[in-house]
């Protein structure tokens, strides 16, 4: 309750701003539609309108502003339009008993979620392994860390098609695996960086203590570094899962735009149905929100169990 009210208030303000922005964003489109329908608009010539500022257009055609809130192809849809589209492709489908039809975002969200989870598992495993290697081996630290950073400066969209071609060349069937690889490629880095920071977070005093016990590397890891890294781990897992989702959606473009939220976004773009893009975006955001909230819950439980006030 303590957080719900502020979130809702901020959300309300954002939505109000959004609604207000729809008018100037869509006025041109509204006037074009009105003109074709034979209405009187100022200026009447589309070219002249293009050179006039939106504020002047709104001032001169106040009676057409409202039309901007119900365009078929809005530059900026209203929250209500997005909500309706989202409902049409999720809740309504589910009510009709076809939640897993190809036209349902639940189906596409599920496809995306699967790849995301695989990518997340793969990326987290890689990131953790890398972090442990970096913290325990000086050579790995000095040679790998710079390249981990460089790997993230390589645009994934450039690598994605090659990953797909190469994985088909080594005999991997289907698009699931390359999608998960792309997703893991984006996911491993935040986990790696966060875990390196976390595993190194124990102060000298805490490390010195274990030294006086002559604790083995494994013991130091289990009893000090790992517990000390827990807050960092969860923070990076939350970033990591969001990155994995983005990675999957990026990966869904060059994998043949078959299914998944990424494919919906692409098709929505190509066939000029902005509402479909916005609905898929909203679905992606909701999915990310759910995943992050889930991890957050896990974090609270774990940290409470460990006696660290979350």
């Amino acid at each position: 309750m303590r957080t719900l009210f502020p979130i809702l208030s901020v959300l309300a303000v954002l939505i109000a701003i959004w609604y207000a922005a729809v008018a100037p964003m869509n006025i041109r489109g509204a006037l074009d539609v009105a003109e074709r329908a034979g209405a009187e608009v100022v200026p009447p010539d589309a070219r002249a309108r293009f050179d006039t500022s939106v504020w002047v257009l709104m001032a001169n055609n106040p009676e057409h502003i409202a039309a901007g809130y119900s365009l078929d192809r809005p530059r900026l849809p209203t929250p209500q339009q997005v909500g309706q589209e989202l409902w049409k492709t999720t809740g309504e489908m589910a009510l009709k008993g076809r939640p897993m039809s190809k036209r349902s975002l639940i189906y596409h969200g599920w496809i995306t979620l699967q790849s995301t989870l695989w990518g997340f598992v793969l990326g987290t495993a890689l990131g953790m392994a890398g972090a442990i290697a970096i913290v325990y081996s000086r050579v790995v630290d000095m040679s790998l860390m710079p390249w981990a950073i460089i790997s993230q400066t390589v645009p994934i969209v450039a690598l994605a098609p090659m990953i797909i071609v190469l994985s088909s060349q080594v005999g991997i069937e289907g698009r699931g695996v390359p999608k998960a690889i792309i997703s893991a490629y984006l996911c491993y880095f935040p986990v790696l960086v966060g875990m390196v920071k976390g595993l190194r977070s124990p102060g000298t005093a805490q490390l010195d203590l274990l030294k006086t016990y002559s604790a083995s590397g494994l013991q130091a890891f289990l009893k000090l570094r790992l517990p000390a890294s827990m807050p960092y781990l969860f923070t990076s897992l939350k970033i990591g899962i969001a990155a994995a989702l983005v990675g999957t959606i990026v990966g869904e473009l060059p994998t043949g735009a078959i299914s998944g939220l990424g494919a919906r976004i692409l098709i929505g773009d190509q066939f000029g149905t902005p509402l479909a893009i916005w609905a898929a975006l909203a679905a992606a955001a909701i999915l990310a929100g759910l995943l992050v909230t889930l991890l957050d819950l896990l974090q609270r439980i774990t940290l409470r169990r460990m006696g660290m006030q979350a």
Partner: protein, 308 residues
């Protein structure tokens, strides 16, 4: 049954109806083939997929295929279901454009990703530079996958296909009277579009040739059925669209337009069309797509011979 993987050039749509019809109506099965159709998408270069062994045969435009051939990837045209080109430039009439000469000093949207070659040839034949606005130059934009640049007047003209993007402009409420279109066919710079390509060395294998013969024959059966039953064909395509985002209305209309492009072909490549495409591409001005005539090695009738 023999396995065949077909890589499409773009997403599942009526542009590829023939193959889906052949699959749905069991023509491939009758030819003892087990065909997998892989849709394309942005970032998928069919040429690269086939080079990587991800497909046996691919749908590609001839300019891109010949460019790949020059890059050392020996693609060979084995069949040409599309007789004519569906590409055109769609412009606002109120921008003051009536003839190709009016294009100078305008902003034009063009598809890249290997689809820019016909445009470049055309501009160089018109003597218009593509390096920026000027007396005899145009500003070229790499357009995305939609027609927004035209609707929002970020460009005066954009590339469209007769069967797809043009209708999206119309669907957005624009009257055909407000538009001017330049078909590449009419401008004499048409290049061959959707053909079937395989890697040259695989044709040495008689078994492969046999497989492709059966594949091409079954595919053409699909195409001809689609031409005769456009609405049903569109519905079949919709069946196979896994994104669930395509609309029936749009696909039926697309199928109607596609039928016009496949009409003149029984699947056999007309060497004259090939020659005309090569000539257009070689005329590409300062930065031609291909620098030398690829010669007849770039196509073969060995496979399509079964069609006659």
């Amino acid at each position: 049954a023999d396995d065949v993987t077909l890589q499409l050039k773009w997403v599942t749509q009526a542009q590829f109806a023939g193959y889906y019809v052949a699959l749905e109506n069991g023509y491939y099965e009758e030819a003892d083939l087990n065909v997998t159709i892989q849709p394309g998408g942005p970032d998928i270069a069919p040429t690269q997929v086939i080079a990587g062994g991800g497909a046996d045969v691919t749908v590609e435009w001839m300019p891109a295929a010949l460019a790949a051939r020059e890059k050392g990837l020996p693609l060979v045209n084995i069949a040409q279901p599309f007789k004519s080109s569906g590409m055109m430039l769609t412009c606002w009439k109120d921008a003051g454009i009536a003839t190709p000469e009016d294009l100078a000093n305008r902003t034009l949207g063009v598809w890249f990703f290997g689809n820019e070659f016909p445009f470049m040839s055309w501009m160089s034949q018109l003597g218009i530079s593509t390096d920026g606005k000027g007396e005899s130059g145009v500003e070229v934009l790499k357009q995305g996958f939609n027609v927004d640049p035209l609707l929002q007047r970020q460009a005066d003209c954009i590339s469209t296909m007769t069967y797809n993007e043009y209708w999206q402009v119309i669907d957005a409420g624009v009257s055909p009277d407000d538009l001017v279109t330049f078909k590449y066919e009419d401008q004499g710079v048409a290049t061959l579009e959707d053909g079937l390509y395989v890697l040259e060395d695989r044709l040495d294998d008689p078994a492969f040739v046999d497989k492709m013969q059966r594949f091409v024959a079954a595919s053409m059966r699909g195409w001809k059925w689609a031409e005769e039953n456009p609405d049903e064909a569109a519905m079949i395509v919709l069946e196979y669209d896994e994104t669930g985002a395509q609309t029936e209305e749009h696909q039926k209309r697309m199928m109607g337009e596609i039928a016009k492009l496949t009409a003149g072909s029984n699947g056999t490549l007309d060497p004259a069309d090939f020659a005309r495409t090569v000539a257009t591409l070689l005329a590409g001005g300062s930065d031609p797509v291909i620098t030398a005539d690829p010669g007849d090695a770039a196509w073969t009738h060995d496979v399509s011979s079964v069609l006659n």
